[in-house]
Symmetry: C2
Subunit: 351 residues, 2 copies
């Protein structure tokens, strides 16, 4: 609530589920959490009676018959909250209308105040326990990549590769994949977001694997690009430039540096090589309970990196009709620099 009070509100309605989980530990798929001094109050429904009480320690649990957000708003009015913050980035226009209709006309005007993404901001900096969980998830990812090196061969479909990777992830203890596994091979490696298809891995060409696991609720995220057969015209050179760009950005990570400076560290390497026009996305993003969190590591971003942030560094080059590749690590911002959480080999690999 301290962060909330700075914005002039005396209550906070939290409905974005990763924020609810972060604040009170509840992992169910239906919840509204109210912070207004005293114990937080969690509203959910009858499906989650046992789970809410077990998970949301220190939180008052209300099993509502009405929709949770309506029950929460009625409680907020009854508790005498005068200005209740909500997260404009995760509250739909329709939900705000529902919130307003749930309270009496005399308080309706002015009760709910767009308070920005206060919880998202808190979540950007991870504590020791979160970092420990994320280390384990990141290392699980590295283990899966090692396994895939023994599995990849020409003729396998991209889908079969994704299947093997995801099966191994489950057996290693992943709760789920943290996003749809990307397997992009041959000419398809030029698609920055190529889902796995029934295309077959080529005898000669790149295979990009971009994947992550969920472990204890936290996401991992890494990308490696390997080459089947001997390199063809220009492939090795482009790979080396992307790797140089990736390592330059990792080296630029430190508390006090801006996100834009990290992005520029990668982009300037590719610019010198004449490849920046093929680097069509940002350099990275924060990661945690969600696969995409703040900070954005992108051109001109002025946000300053802080100790405890976990970000991805993932420059890539995509040459339509030819080939593409991307190399991505998860990086923890330490007290002095950036620590790679995904230490899998990044040198050129030819299988």
């Amino acid at each position: 609530m301290a962060a909330a009070r700075d914005t002039g509100v005396d209550g906070l309605l939290v409905t974005h589920l990763p924020d609810v989980r972060y604040l009170c530990g509840f992992t169910g798929s239906y919840a509204a959490l109210v912070l207004a001094g005293g114990r937080p109050v969690l509203f959910t429904d009858g499906r989650y009676t046992a789970q809410a009480k077990a998970e949301a320690q220190g939180t008052r649990v209300v099993i509502a018959k009405k929709p949770a957000v309506i029950a929460a708003c009625e409680w907020i009015e009854a508790a005498g909250v005068r200005r209740c913050g909500f997260d404009a980035a995760h509250t739909t226009v329709a939900a705000l209308e529902t919130m307003r209709k749930a309270v009496s006309t005399k308080v309706r005007r002015g009760l709910f105040v767009a308070a920005g993404s206060l919880v998202a901001r808190l979540r950007e900096v991870k504590d020791a326990e979160e970092i420990e969980r994320m280390r384990r998830g990141a290392l699980m990812g590295c283990g899966l990549f090692d396994h895939m090196l023994t599995y990849l061969e020409p003729g396998l479909t991209e889908v079969a590769v994704a299947a093997e990777l995801e099966h191994a992830a489950r057996l290693a203890g992943a709760e789920a994949m943290s996003f749809e596994t990307i397997v992009a091979s041959g000419e398809r490696s030029a698609l920055p977001h190529g889902r796995a298809t029934t295309a077959k891995l080529p005898r000669r060409g790149f295979v990009t694997l971009d994947f992550g696991v969920m472990l204890d609720g936290y996401c991992s995220d890494m990308t490696r690009t390997v080459h089947l057969g001997k390199a063809m015209d220009g492939e090795r050179e482009v790979y080396d430039f992307v790797l140089e760009a990736q390592e330059a950005a990792v080296a630029a990570v430190a508390p006090g540096v801006t996100a834009g400076e990290v992005d520029e560290a990668a982009r300037s390497v590719l610019r010198r090589a004449g490849l920046d026009k093929y680097f069509s996305h940002s350099t990275g993003h924060g990661v945690g309970l969600e696969i995409h969190e703040g900070p954005r590591i992108a051109t001109k971003q002025t946000q300053v990196l802080e100790q405890g942030m976990v970000i991805t560094i993932e420059p890539g080059v995509y040459m339509p009709g030819r080939f593409g590749l991307r190399i991505e690590d998860m990086v923890l911002v330490t007290g002095t620099s950036g620590e790679i959480l995904t230490p899998s080999v990044k040198a050129w690999i030819e299988l």
Copy 2:
């Protein structure tokens, strides 16, 4: 646009990705689509240049340097649209603010109008091609269930069961699972949304499998509950009541019937058996490009079922600390009744 014009708007800004896909075929993860008479205009970014042109046939594609929604709003103003509808249920308060700031102050007030979920409403009724895709996805699910019957045995972890199911799904050609696979065994079967954990399947007790695949962009969804070992006290009786409730609701499906009547058909069976207090969720939901779509099959819902809708029918009973079970089919509303798309056996299975 016909549906939109009825609501008094002369343009529509569509940003919810399943709606974008439905309207123009583009499957990328970043887009804004404008309908304002003439060809639809799709705004996306440089990652999707090739893909947008290939997929969004009949649509003008604009690769924007600015955020797609800002470029779309500038286009809307320049095109002279006077009242542009947006979907209040899928537009955040922050996004609406961004939309308003993207246009000049002289049109800002009144240009954007909450137009309800027009596209979601259209999507509820599937056409022949969509139904064909959904049939194939549903049958793939049935094949996976058959496979799992040969795999399940006491001592396997729930996670290993999920891993096997998801691996088989990938090899069968699924693009992805349509939601996080639920494997809930023994006492955990009493959790309506029990994710797969490292708990081991019991020698005697229920195992609930609730899963679905994505095929050609469409979701399947089915649940079966089987029993390991011989039934214990009350289990068989409860199973039979849930099955009776499920079959009663399927039998109630027909065009012209309300969603609430279908829900009541299931709920009344369980009420007569004294089990309705353990049926803590709604009877079902529409399914399509998203796993949860309209209509909601829930108590007192007055929405009328129409030919071409595809819904789930999934009553369950959950007795905390004892056991639980659920049985779910996908059901197509035909011209006269409901047709089950997931014809896997529902009789008591003892493994």
